[in-house]
């Protein structure tokens, strides 16, 4: 009898907790870069993201070749700098470590902690953002500063003109509820 109870308990524990997950592959990611005399922005509408509320996991990635700065030469130069043929993705995988009330429809500040990877380098990061549980899904907004040097990214420079080491990153995505299959 004890054996049966033990096996039943194990079986229950082994089944993934069924809870709400949210997913999108049309989120927006944007970076703003500074060079002397002007700034430029690169944008992608192909941010892929998933948040699972049952374990508070947060998983986002972007195909870096979808970033568009509006200048073809600069785009190609950026892809060369990021070595996208070798490292095609920028990605984050971590957890929401602050309180989040999924029953509230208010915009709530949250903190996520995890690993951000780009250019083949992974660093632990702590990012502040907001989550809003809307009728359509979970609206995610976040912004942080990425230091190129931390990820061994060496921007090209012309004489003394060079791209600022610090890049302002912003993401926004409306993650739709995933129907459990």
């Amino acid at each position: 009898m004890k054996k049966i109870l033990f096996l039943t308990l194990l079986s229950i524990l082994s089944v993934p907790v069924v809870g709400q997950s949210y997913y999108s592959e049309t989120g927006t990611a944007q970076f703003t870069s500074s060079v002397p005399l002007h700034n430029f922005t690169g944008t992608s509408e192909s941010l892929v993201g998933m948040i699972k509320l049952e374990d508070m996991s947060v998983d986002f990635y972007i195909d870096l070749e979808t970033l568009d700065t509006g200048n073809a030469k600069r785009d190609k130069d950026m892809l060369l700098t990021l070595e996208t043929k070798k490292y095609p993705f920028g990605e984050f995988f971590g957890k929401i470590t602050s309180e989040f009330d999924a029953s509230s429809s208010e915009e709530q500040p949250v903190i996520v902690e995890g690993n951000f990877t780009i250019h083949g380098q992974t660093k632990e990061v702590k990012i502040e953002g907001t989550l809003t549980n809307t009728d359509e899904g979970l609206l995610v907004k976040a912004a942080w500063i990425l230091n190129l040097d931390d990820y061994d990214i060496v921007p090209p420079k012309l004489l003394i003109i060079k791209v600022d080491e610090e890049q302002a990153i912003e993401i926004e995505a409306l993650l739709k509820p995933v129907e459990e299959g």
């Binding site: 993934p16 996991s57 070749e65 030469k73 600069r74 130069d77 095609p88 003109i161 060079k162």
Partner: protein, 288 residues
């Protein structure tokens, strides 16, 4: 025991499902091969690489006198420069138009480049093909002819450029081409040809992400003006933050192909070549 093992597998499977990352998939599975060449020309010969929509390329092209003068004229640098200033603009991702002025004979040229095919990463289309047309006019005040008319001052060029990037390092281009001058001048070698045909060759060997070796060779086919030689250039290119710098040794003095075919009298292999460099800067005038 078997039941316990089964349960352990289920636990591990369940945990993995819960904490697993999503499978990473590329947003763009196929697409055109990027940058068969870094920019739209090498030293003087055009490449299949075209400007994208709303991008403007400003170019400053220079070369100096022949290096075979040695130290006396500082390997040609004391002999004055031939310069072409130009701009090209991408009307669409396939069509660009441009204008330039060369200091030699004050030649002003209008040109276009149209991309017919893009080489695809999947090799579904294995080559990139573009056509180019260039119409030039000599605007220099002329002392040879009393009445040098507008039509007589015209020169023309057309080519079909076919290129392939064979791997990440090597790109080769072949380009049948034709040039025509409405007026030619006998400079003592017999009556020059108005029209020349050639099959041009160009290539790029990528050394690393920002540096390449390049060449261009324009062998004239069939009849040609006496005393003219096939143009050759060997170059080194550096890409840095929106600029492309090109340094080269070239036989011809011109940066327009019609002149390189019909007017070059320097033989690269006899040491008659000159140092040159081009600076290209691309500006974005709007979203793609």
């Amino acid at each position: 025991m078997k039941k316990i093992n089964l349960s352990l597998i289920l636990i591990l499977f369940g945990m993995q499902t819960l904490f697993a990352q999503m499978q990473r998939t590329r947003a763009v599975q196929d697409g055109p091969v990027d940058e068969l060449f870094l920019i739209g020309s090498i030293a003087g010969m055009s490449t299949v690489t075209n400007l994208e929509a709303n991008n403007l390329n400003s170019t400053i092209m220079h070369n100096f006198g022949s290096v075979n003068g040695g130290l006396e004229d500082f390997y040609g640098l004391d002999l004055g420069a031939s310069v072409r200033l130009g701009i090209d603009y991408g009307i669409s991702d396939k069509l660009s138009v441009g204008i330039g002025r060369t200091s030699l004979e004050d030649n002003v040229d209008l040109r276009f480049k149209y991309t017919l095919l893009r080489q695809m990463k999947s090799d579904k289309i294995p080559v990139e093909v573009a056509v180019k047309g260039d119409v030039g006019i000599t605007t220099q005040e002329n002392t040879i002819f009393e009445d040098f008319t507008f039509t007589e001052r015209m020169n023309y060029f057309a080519s079909v450029m076919i290129a392939r990037q064979f791997n990440e390092k090597i790109t080769l281009q072949v380009a049948p081409m034709i040039s025509h001058f409405n007026t030619v001048v006998d400079e003592g070698n017999g009556l020059p040809n108005h029209t020349h045909f050639a099959v041009g060759f160009a290539g790029r060997i990528k050394l690393n992400v920002r540096n390449s070796l390049t060449f261009e060779y324009l062998p004239v086919l069939g009849e040609r003006t006496a005393g003219t030689k096939n143009h050759l250039a060997l170059g080194y290119e550096v890409e840095t933050g929106g600029h492309v710098f090109q340094m080269f040794f070239m036989a011809g003095r011109w940066f327009t192909e019609q002149h390189l075919l019909a007017r070059n009298t320097d033989d690269f292999f006899a040491g008659d070549f000159r140092l040159g460099f081009n600076v290209n800067r691309i500006f974005s005038l709007g979203k793609k």
